[in-house]
């Protein structure tokens, strides 16, 4: 079943830098884990340092990752033969290079931030061990040159996410959230596994290159099955409907975790997977329609739910879900560069937003309810600037990064012939603008409504990363400016060559931009009228309470997804388990065994009753036996001639 020669995507060779950037975070994790008690506060610096080295190695790997020799794009490093016919290796091409840069770069900043944020926690070293381990796992995911390696990374990031969501494991809510996140992500893992089985059965290899080379030979059904199952994994990891319910709960973790894992990197793994498997998706219009629709639905649902949240991190969580919906929609319909672009900008502005909210939460002694904030602009001007740039960027205000990427996604839906998705995307953009500005206004405008007397301003380790992130939050989008001549398009020129054919939509790109901008402006305007004006902030506490009480139940219950999943799967499984464990196992299965044993005893009791101990009874039985024998001979034919 081993193909004679593998079709690898990158240039084969030995790349020490690649190995270094991959393994350094693992080393950091192991050191922090092993020597945690000895390292104490130094653990944070150690982990951050290792990650910084990893980032540096990633940057230095740029030439290797973008090299183009004889059709092979990027660098390929063979590792080992994992199972017969299933080989592991690392692949650094523009796509994985981009992800690796974001993971190590943003990861480095968030590590730095965490040194301040997690200061004084009793499990400080453990936190950094988990964080470094997460980076290693995420790098495994994006650097793998094959589906099982990707699956390994996929599972390990799930584990890291589980550890970090449940980091404060003395809180029952955190424990429950961690378990939910892990189990739902295992559903996704299982989807990818199933896809791998089909792939191995048809290709005999798990390497991306082999699979993509063989993909033209797949039937439509096989292709759709593979894409659909892969998307189960993508949906679970990227919080797409209906596997999204873990993401809001995941905010139980420390805020830097939310920024790194549940905003910037891990949750975009689904986007990476689809972009990586672009040749498969491009060949399956059914899969494109399915994934695009689910992405759009998720974008809309996340935005709708984001409108009625009061916990600042849950607002950001639903916005994450919504924005990933955009990305999935983009890569799903075939606008791969658009979806990936939105991943890049989102990684920065969402990390920015989460770190900014972390500044507030840290300052207000772990207060997360925006109703108990307000008026923070004067108290925390730096946080305000940070949050405001993030909000402006996510809303797609021209000039800020989100504008460029979101525009590409929205126009991409039209280009690939999905006008309905275009409509959903535009509406969602408006809602996004509304609820993000709502958060901004409620948090920073008006009077302070909480009861924290002294605002605890964070130290430089927390402020510096936020400050640095402002730059790409504003500026990274300009890479995508300029159409085909933009640096972005040139960077990905060889990557998505096999994308679906682009049709010329009825309305031009300029017009769509204006439509989007109008909707966004409307959203901002409504938010301003409801929360930003002086009259609105005058009786803010009472108004917010009223508003909280009047949330429609369907939104308050998050479209009942939790309840439905609970009723359909959790309760059913538990009920079945209870029936089997408490009724079937002891009564039916073991009952049969016990009856067998008892019947032996019953037989013994029966024969025992013959043993009366009476000599005469024994004699009688003996005589009866003799009589039977005699009768047999007497009655047998010819006994007496």
């Amino acid at each position: 079943m081993t193909p004679l020669h593998h079709a690898t995507l990158g240039v084969d060779g030995t790349y020490p830098l690649l190995l270094g950037l991959w393994l350094l975070p693992l080393l950091g994790a192991v050191l922090c884990w092993t020597f945690g008690p000895q390292l104490k506060a130094a653990a944070g610096w150690l982990a951050t340092g290792f990650l910084g080295c990893s980032f540096a190695a990633t940057v230095l790997s740029w030439p290797a990752g973008t090299q183009l020799i004889g059709g092979a794009h990027g660098a390929h490093q063979a590792l080992l033969s994992w199972l017969p016919g299933l080989d592991f290796g690392l692949l650094l091409d523009p796509l994985s290079l981009l992800w690796a840069l974001v993971i190590t770069g943003v990861g480095f900043l968030i590590h730095l931030y965490s040194i301040g944020y997690m200061h004084g926690d009793r499990a400080f070293a453990r936190f950094f061990a988990y964080m470094n381990f997460f980076v290693f796992a995420m790098l495994t995911l994006v650097l793998s040159d094959n589906f099982i390696g990707l699956l390994v990374g996929w599972g390990l990031v799930g584990l890291a996410s589980y550890f970090l969501i449940g980091f404060w494991f003395e809180r029952p809510s955190a424990v429950a959230a961690a378990r939910k996140a892990f189990v739902l992500n295992v559903v996704g893992d299982v989807g990818i596994m199933a896809a791998v089985f089909i792939i191995v059965a048809h290709v005999g290899s798990i390497g991306f290159g082999d699979v993509f080379a063989a993909s033209p030979g797949f039937g439509t059904g096989v292709l759709f099955a593979i894409c659909g199952l892969l998307f189960v994994g993508a949906a679970a990891k990227s919080a797409q409907i209906p596997l999204h319910t873990w993401l809001p709960d995941a905010m139980e973790g420390p805020t830097p975790v939310s920024a790194l894992i549940h905003a910037a990197t891990m949750v975009t793994a689904g986007v990476y997977l689809i972009a990586r498997c672009a040749p498969l998706w491009s060949a399956s219009p059914n899969a494109q329609l399915l994934v695009g629709s689910i992405g759009a639905a998720t974008a809309l649902a996340g935005a709708l739910l984001g409108m009625v949240q009061w916990d600042i991190k849950r607002i950001l969580a639903y916005s994450t879900m919504s924005q990933i919906g955009y990305m999935i929609m983009g890569v799903g319909v075939g606008a791969y560069d658009g979806g990936v672009a939105h991943f890049l900008t989102h990684a920065f502005f969402k990390a920015q937003l989460f770190l900014g909210s972390g500044l507030i939460i840290h300052a207000l002694a772990n207060e997360q309810d925006v109703r108990r904030m307000g008026g923070l602009r004067s108290k925390m001007p730096f946080a305000f600037v940070a949050m405001a740039t993030g909000v402006v960027a996510i809303c797609g205000v021209p000039g800020f990064s989100g504008y460029f990427s979101k525009d590409r996604v929205i126009y991409g839906t039209l280009e690939h012939g999905h006008p309905w998705l275009f409509g959903v995307a535009v509406v969602t953009a408006g809602i996004t603008a509304y609820y993000m500005f709502r958060m901004l206004f409620v948090t920073f405008m008006g009077e302070y409504r909480g009861d924290v007397d002294h605002v605890h301003l964070p130290d430089w380790t927390m402020n510096l990363p936020v400050g640095i992130l402002i730059v790409p939050t504003i500026g990274i989008g300009w890479l995508m400016f300029g159409g085909d001549a933009s640096p972005w398009n040139r960077f990905f020129a060889g990557q998505f060559a096999s994308g679906a054919p682009v049709t010329q939509p009825a309305i031009s790109e300029g017009l769509t931009t204006w439509i989007v901008l109008a909707v966004v402006a409307a959203g901002i305007g409504i938010a301003y009228l409801r929360y930003g004006t002086a009259t609105a902030s005058a009786d803010a506490p009472a108004r917010l309470e009223r508003e909280a009480a009047s949330v429609p139940p369907v939104l308050a219950n998050a479209f009942y997804f939790d309840a439905i999943i609970d009723a359909l799967f959790v309760r059913t499984s538990q009920g079945l388990g209870r029936f089997l464990g408490q009724t079937a196992d002891p009564l039916l299965v073991d009952g049969a065994v016990r009856e067998t044993a008892l019947s032996a005893g019953w037989l013994g009791a029966l024969t025992r009753s013959f043993q009366t101990g009476l000599v005469r009874a024994y004699a009688l039985v003996l005589v009866a036996g003799a009589a039977c024998l005699i009768a047999y001979y007497a009655l047998a034919p010819g006994a007496f001639r």
């Binding site: 009366t612 005469r616 009874a617 009688l620 009866a624 005699i630 009768a631 007496f640 001639r641």
Partner: protein, 204 residues
Amino acid sequence: MIAFWVLSVVLIASAVWTITAQKPVYSVVGLLANFAALAILYLTLSAEFLAVIQLIVYSGAILVLFVFVIALLSSGVAPFAAGPNRMPKAALPAVALVCVALGFVVFAVTRGEVAIPPPPAGSTSALGPVGTADVFGSVGDFGKALFTTYLLPFEVTALILMVAVVGVVLLSGTAPAKAPTRRRAAGVRRELREAVVRDGEDRR
């Protein structure tokens, strides 16, 4: 022929007497009569040596042993007595059924002509009047057969007798075996119960 019928009547009557007599001693007397009649019947069958053995061994040895045992047990606390009949009631029809079955067999056998298979090979003396030397059934005839042809069964018999002797010595020669009868067990239980009750009353 007349002797056969007379002896038959005596045999059956004495046998019935044996199993129905109230006292064991009467049974012994019945058995004695039975053995004696049987010995005479043996004589009519030209088995003079066995007739004598019958008298000596059965009447002389075994029956005397019975009488001794009767005397031994009678010298105990009470005359022979019996507890309640513990045979299950279901045994009665069973006994009846067995009787009918056996009776049927007897009836069938005596009614028909019993075919006598040809005699086995082997030398034996010719028939002659009882009391004559070396005729069929005489001491000489019997002895020759026993110590030549049937030597091995004879030796085995000796072994059986030896085992019996050893067994008897073991059974009755040691300390009196306790017979854990139900009645005694019930008595012991009753005593224990009474002792416990007394103990409880004392404490009170």
